[in-house]
Amino acid sequence: MNPDFPILTLLLFLPLVGGLSVALLWRNPATARFFALLVGLAELALGAWLGSSAPAAGPTGYFLYQDLPWIERFGIRYTLGMDGISLVLVLLTAFITVIAMLLFWQEVKERVALYFALLLATETGILGVFLSLDLFLFYLFWEAMLIPMFFLIGIWGNGRKLYSAVKFFLYTFIGSLLMLVAIIVLYLMHGAQTGSYSFALAELVHTQVPYTTGLWLFAAFLLALGVKFPLVPLHGWLPDAYCDSPSAGTVVLAGILAKTAAYALIRFAYPLLPEAAHAFTPVIYVCAVIGIVYGAWVAFAQTDMKRLVAYSSVSHMGFIALGIAAWSPVALSGAVLQMVNHGITTGALFVMVGMLAERTEDRESLHYGGLWGKVPVLAFFFLFFNMASAGLPGLNNFVGEFLVLVGTFRVAPGAALGAFLGIVLTLVYTVRLVQDILFGTPSQPVSLSDLSLRESATLASLAVIGVYLGVHPAPVLDLIKVPIALLTKA
């Protein structure tokens, strides 16, 4: 590979350009679908190729890097970089997008081309967050990914779709504005100290931030990221947005969009403001533990399947927050791994729930029952992903949760103990859902078709990854080892 070739830019903008071309095919939905899938697959292939052929990481941990001046007057640069953490998440993003497209191939009947175009545009937005190393660029992508998502929910959603879309947008947007203020303050502070105004992460980490100011800045970051995470008191948008968006949108939202916040916390907020982050750690612990327990508890009360999985997602994200807050190598590895696992598992759960809802147009779990005998393949996958989500050892979630818990227990046993409680509660709602759907006799006759070959194959790929990461997570752990070592030693 020619080292000067802007491969990261290609990776980043391939979905967007592809999406725009898809949008041009609006006269012909079938072609648009195929073309969109092709773009998604190409992106995934490119990511995989980068992952497999990645040169050794340099001392900064980045093995691909691109830096061009953009708006020099304000010290804004177009800086992209890929280290192990980014690579893992990029792969996840490309994979989940393809999955979402494949499994909800026919879900949307109107304005198909636009729908797929927006999905691809969201992908670019998310990839941008994972790849940017310039805070301005990061913020740009951070906001940019909201817009296609907003339309996905607002146009193709169901239920109170506009309410949910606006709520989602306002929640995240207001939080982000605070983060923008924090970024600008950092920028000015750094400029005043060194005389060179720059948005580059590598520069800004050297800013000397007074303690109190740092607290305010970190609070702004935390608020913005906490909304998207979501940390518990800020999760109000999530159940509505997850429930009312089209199934593919939900998968993207839960599977990858939520990870951007965790990633930003790891990549930007903590390194930029280490002291303040340390001061805020108890707050994050509390939010995370409350999130784990509260999410699981509220999930138990849900009878709307999608809403149940949505709250379970709150609970699972609590583990990630916990791992980040602990900021120890083991816990952080667990958190990053759990980001991937959560993407796979919760994504798959939303897929399953979405497929059921697509077949029967009913999301009320109490209306189902006895599916085990009727649709064995679907039931098998349903059970599989639910058990993965409940943290059955040997499947992916267990490894992540275990690392997080063990790593956290070392530094904060109290917080970890609260999270342990969550393990029990997780099982309680999972088993309830499984029982409602798979066991018993149906309270009303539901006619269902079992999975098609396309669906089975796609879900099988998810399941294989689930097992693989549960049995042999070493590839991911090796990838993220260097960056995490760098982050936690700094």
Binding site: G236, A301, V330, P393, V406, F409, L421, F439, T441, H472
Partner: protein, 628 residues
């Protein structure tokens, strides 16, 4: 050795996965043979390993995951304890697999059944063989998962699924305590290797050892259905009978005992912990036996007796008599599996009738079952010279010999329990097999039950003569005692021969007394009176025992109801009400403020002009005021 051990694990795993994935498309015979072959293959490996065995051995098969200093290899450990358990598990499970082929002959969903059975064997073996606590945890959760699905195997009935769920969640509570212990151990030592941890216990202050021990005890309590988490086991009888025999009698439920025995070198140094183990065991033994007295469902009698017998094993561990506990574990596995399988024959013959008060006269129609069942009951009752007698007695002896006030009090509790045990065992035998009953018509053809009955015979022999595994000292000492001897910490005080004989004499007398009492109350003519009584409303005490001391109701009122209610409150009041409602009200407030301000735009030019002028005047006024 690595080959044997990994094959022992991989064969059932492979069998299970294969059956799970393609079993539905395989011919029935092939799927069944595959499942059986997998377990017996495992057994062969276990035997080969036993033959090649010449001392404790640790084997690293592969790396599982490693993150910085947390390295978790897939390592296995073969020592006398795990070896003897492996042999037992493979053998008993193998027999039960064979039995299931006939028992489940009418079941359409055989692939799922055998897949889960095989997976269970895999999980159980990895639990036992694990050298690494996380691998042990994998097995630990794996057996729980299989048990969950197998209890709810006949999922179309809500009660079965509920029972499975209850089992899974209740044991999860204990599992979580175990996981806390794991995290703590890693924090303390930076390793989770059992062999290393067992060697490092002395480094810790006593308080921490106690806490760790209690956490592990909590794990064991969940898995082994001890007080106060025993409520799931009686309900678990909703599963098919072979499952009850395999999981809820012979293997999985004894995992807690195994864990405590395995970690004894670490946790045994804390008196508080061992006392707690012994107290839990003693109380549970008594609780289970007392409940078994009043049960009407054949399988529930056996379930409560299992709870009670595991209580004995815990007593043994608490007394520091690891050998005795293991001995009882093995023998119990044989005779309890035997009893369950016998019950399965009975139930099949009775067309899934499980109420013992509606049975009777089966000793004539099912003679093989009768004799085998009788052998099992004799073991359970601890009649002299049966395997159960020796194993139970070695526990009681160890308790007595430990000599503290607590253990001697528990000894008497154990004796009382032994008496009750003998009584309810033979109550069961008399009610099921003796007398005559109106429900004689429509028995299965003998040939249906016969292959199942054949499986009982080896188990009956093992149960009856299991005592030779570890004979008491005055008969020349036992094989197991010397075999398990190297386990550190397993050195209870040796009793002299006279003491031992005296103690055994007491136990034997009590057992015989219990059988006699049962005979008086349920044998012969008295049996019919009992049948008449059983049609009446039970007395309060009987109802109390029948319902397992109302623990279920207590938990329902104390835990489950509040949890459900609170979950609804959290959702509707807190989440929808406060968090969401707050945001919505805020949005409404902003909206109404906006529309209120919007009324300013009256559309009248004059108002705009006036506003504009007022603004200008204000600006000007402000400037003037500043310059004042």
């Amino acid at each position: 050795m690595t080959t044997y051990l990994s094959l022992m694990l991989l064969i059932p795993l492979f069998g299970g996965v294969l059956n799970a994935l393609v079993g539905r498309n395989l011919p029935r015979r092939l799927a069944e043979s595959l499942a059986c072959a997998a377990v017996w293959g495992s057994f062969v490996c276990a035997v080969l390993a036993a033959l090649a065995y010449h001392g404790p051995e640790k084997v690293v098969v592969a790396q599982w995951f490693q993150a910085f200093d947390l390295a978790l290899p897939l390592s296995l450990y073969l020592d006398p304890l795990s070896l003897s358990l492996c042999l037992m598990i493979c053998f008993v499970c193998g027999l039960i697999h064979l039995y299931s082929v006939f028992y489940m002959a009418a079941e359409a969903d055989y692939a799922r059944f055998f897949a889960l059975l095989n997976l269970f064997v895999f999980a159980m073996l990895s639990l036992v063989l694990a050298e690494n606590l996380v691998l042990l945890y994998l097995g630990w959760e794996g057996v729980g998962f299989c048990s969950y699905l197998l209890i709810g195997f006949w999922y179309t009935e809500k009660e079965n699924a509920d029972a499975g769920r209850k089992a899974f969640i209740t044991t999860r509570i204990g599992d979580t305590a175990l996981m806390v212990a794991l995290a703590w151990l890693f924090q303390l030592f930076g390793t989770l290797s059992i062999t290393q941890l067992n060697g490092m216990g002395f480094l810790l202050p006593a308080g921490i050892v106690t806490a760790l021990g209690l956490l592990m005890l909590a794990g064991a309590i969940g898995k082994s259905a001890q007080l106060p988490l025993m409520v799931w086991l009686p309900d678990a009888m909703a599963g098919p009978t072979p499952v009850s025999a395999m999981i809820h009698a012979a293997t999985m439920v004894t995992a807690g005992v195994y864990l405590l025995a395995r970690m004894y070198p670490l946790i045994g140094s804390s008196t508080v912990t061992t006392s707690a183990i012994a107290i839990v065991g003693g109380l549970t033994a008594f609780y289970g036996a007392s409940c078994a007295l009043a049960q009407r469902d054949l399988k529930r009698v056996l379930a409560f007796s299992t709870i009670s017998q595991i209580g004995y094993m815990m007593l043994g561990v608490g007394a520091g008599a690891i050998t005795a506990a293991t001995f009882h574990l093995l023998v119990h596995a044989f005779f309890k599996a035997l009893l369950f399988l016998g019950a399965g024959c009975v139930i099949t013959a009775m067309h899934h009738e499980q109420d013992i008060f509606r049975m009777g006269g089966l000793r004539r129609t099912l003679p093989i079952t009768f004799w085998c069942f009788l052998a099992g009951a004799a073991c359970l009752a601890g009649l002299p010279l049966t395997g159960g007698f020796f194993s139970k007695d070695s526990i009681l002896t160890a308790l007595w010999m430990k000599g503290t006030a607590l253990t001697q009090a528990l000894y008497f509790l154990g004796l009382l329990t032994a008496l009750i045990t003998a009584f309810y065992s033979f109550r069961m035998v008399y009610l099921v097999f003796f007398g005559s009953n109106a429900h004689q018509q429509g028995h299965h053809e003998q040939s249906d039950v016969l292959p199942m009955e054949l499986v009982l015979i080896p188990l009956a022999l093992l149960g009856l003569f299991g005592g030779v595994l570890d004979l008491p000292g005055y008969l020349g000492g036992g094989f197991l005692g010397s075999f398990l001897g190297p386990l550190s910490g397993a050195h209870p005080v040796e009793a002299s021969h006279t003491e031992e004989l005296a103690l055994q004499g007491v136990a034997a007398t009590l057992a015989l007394a219990g059988v006699f009492a049962a005979h008086v109350r349920y044998g012969g003519a008295a049996r019919d009176n009992r049948l008449q009584e059983s049609l009446l409303k039970p007395a309060p005490l009987v109802a109390f025992l029948l319902n397992g001391w109302y623990f279920d109701a207590l938990y329902r009122a104390l835990l489950i109801r509040p949890y459900q209610a609170l979950s609804r409150v959290l959702w509707q009041q807190v989440d929808e009400g406060v968090i969401n409602g707050g945001i919505d009200r805020l949005a409404d407030g902003v909206g109404s403020t906006g529309s209120w301000l919007g009324r300013w735009t009256t559309g009248q030019v004059a108002v705009y002009l006036l506003s504009f002028a007022a603004g200008g005047a204000l600006l000007l006024g402000y400037l003037a005021w500043r310059s004042l």
